[in-house]
Symmetry: C2
Subunit: 252 residues, 2 copies
DNA sequence: CGGCGGCTTGAAGGACGTCAAGATTAGTGG
DNA sequence: CCACTAATCTTGACGTCCTTCAAGCCGCCG
């Protein structure tokens, strides 16, 4: 599945979730688990499927939604990688997170009823749009949909708090790499080899570091043979060592 | 309502939400808005009220729930102040937040199905316990309950991300003081004069600072006549100045 | 009154940021 | 396919904000 070209660089297909058919959802979708299990009646399932709009492609730099826009829908990433970020009143950007295929964005917009952040495509991106009004109606009818929504929301609280702690640059970087690894693995992609689609500056911003520090930490990890880095291609050589450093930030 | 004793210290009643009667909820409760508006039928309202257990008092230091415990209920603080904090595998504590009367805790436990943090009483605390299973059942029947839950969850994501950003000690402290001010005001307490129930070390930890830094920043703010501090009693003298410093962290 | 925990204040050190220069890559048009 | 430009990334030197360490202070309670 992965090949290496003559320069020694990895060639990997751009991660994309399958489209799903009329009845089933994209296999990697966060809503899959709410519907795929037996027991959900077909009509309800079809209802959920009907309210989904497939949108894309977005080119790198294009915005899926904008900070301040009225909230109307949440989105599941179907292909590509999305970055969410806020710009404060002094114009400083803060990267909230990076979102892989199968992950859901926009949940933080429910309360303020406006998107509190931008969602920007980092490469070619496809998304599924779920009208939130329709989703809540369905949630009242199908317990599993309601339960899935509650869990997704709750999980997002946990994600946000993980990075709120006080940790060294090494700890945060190790945790970041392992987190991406786990999330790629969860969606069926390689866990030890993936592409850092985002520029160093975005990684740095997200981890509250300078991009220079990101460079230095990555170099340190390379020197210790914990990872291999070639531009934006990354290979994890010693996840155990990364774990000993980064475990403080990771879910147990 | 506020008096000053002969030592010059503020005397203020310990903030506590009223108990509510058979039909109505505590006036400050986060669930109040889901039910108080006309249009919700009395039976449903009574159902919600029935599933609430009033618990307390907890003395300072007592735990409402513990990290790792199986998730079963969310709690609304009815009186006193609660601190939530995680202890990582190296024994380091991280203070996630402080929770005033009317605020809800435990929402971050839905996904992992275990409480990911401790909830500790900082003074004498009373809470309302909502069985989450019963609440979700009710949420499927009463749209406003479902909506309130979604909003509470979504708001918690926002709260968690606010502190994740990269800011100076002054910015974080200013934002912290204003945030408490706003939250006390929302619940009907004084906005410019309140008690910092938590020790400096907890404030410091929550803001990712050393407690020494907290001392120094508070002193700086005092010298500039922005606040008045007497032990744990705090008075805000110039909220405008605090706002110019702290606005980067605050919701617009 | 005396001990103890929390708070304050000062001095020194460290982790990371900032600045600046160069190297590598990607993008673009010929 | 190649040349040229711009953006991104790396690396080093230096500065700074905050932490750490240490000592003294204050309020509280036996």
């Amino acid at each position: 599945m992965n090949r290496i070209d003559r320069e020694g660089r990895f060639i990997e297909p751009n991660p994309i979730a399958d489209d799903g058919d009329d009845i089933h959802f994209c296999s990697t979708c966060a809503f899959g688990s709410a519907c795929l299990p037996a027991g959900v009646d077909k009509t309800a399932l079809r209802e959920l499927h009907v309210l989904v709009e497939h949108i894309g492609p977005y080119r790198a730099g294009a915005q899926i939604f904008r900070q301040g826009e009225r909230f109307g829908a949440i989105y599941a990433v179907r292909g590509g990688v999305v970055k969410t970020c806020v710009t404060d009143n002094e114009g400083r950007e803060q990267v909230l997170g990076f979102h892989l295929p199968g992950e859901v964005i926009g949940l933080n917009a429910i309360h303020p009823e406006r998107y509190p952040c931008d969602a920007v495509a980092l490469d070619t991106v496809y998304v599924c749009r779920f009208s939130f009004a329709a989703l809540t109606t369905l949630a009242a009818k199908i317990p599993d949909v309601q339960r899935t929504l509650f869990r997704l929301l709750s999980a997002d609280i946990g994600k946000a708090t993980a990075l709120a702690g006080d940790h060294t640059a090494d700890e945060r970087m190790a945790a970041f790499l392992l987190d991406l690894s786990r999330r790629y693995a969860e969606r069926g992609f390689s866990s030890h080899r993936y592409r850092l689609v985002m520029p160093r500056g975005d990684i740095a911003n997200h981890l509250r570091l300078a991009s220079e520090t990101v460079s230095r930490v990555l170099r340190r990890f390379c020197d210790r043979q914990w990872i291999r880095v070639d531009g934006r291609e990354l290979e994890i050589l010693d996840s155990a060592q990364l774990r000993t450093i980064g475990q403080a930030l990771l879910p147990e």
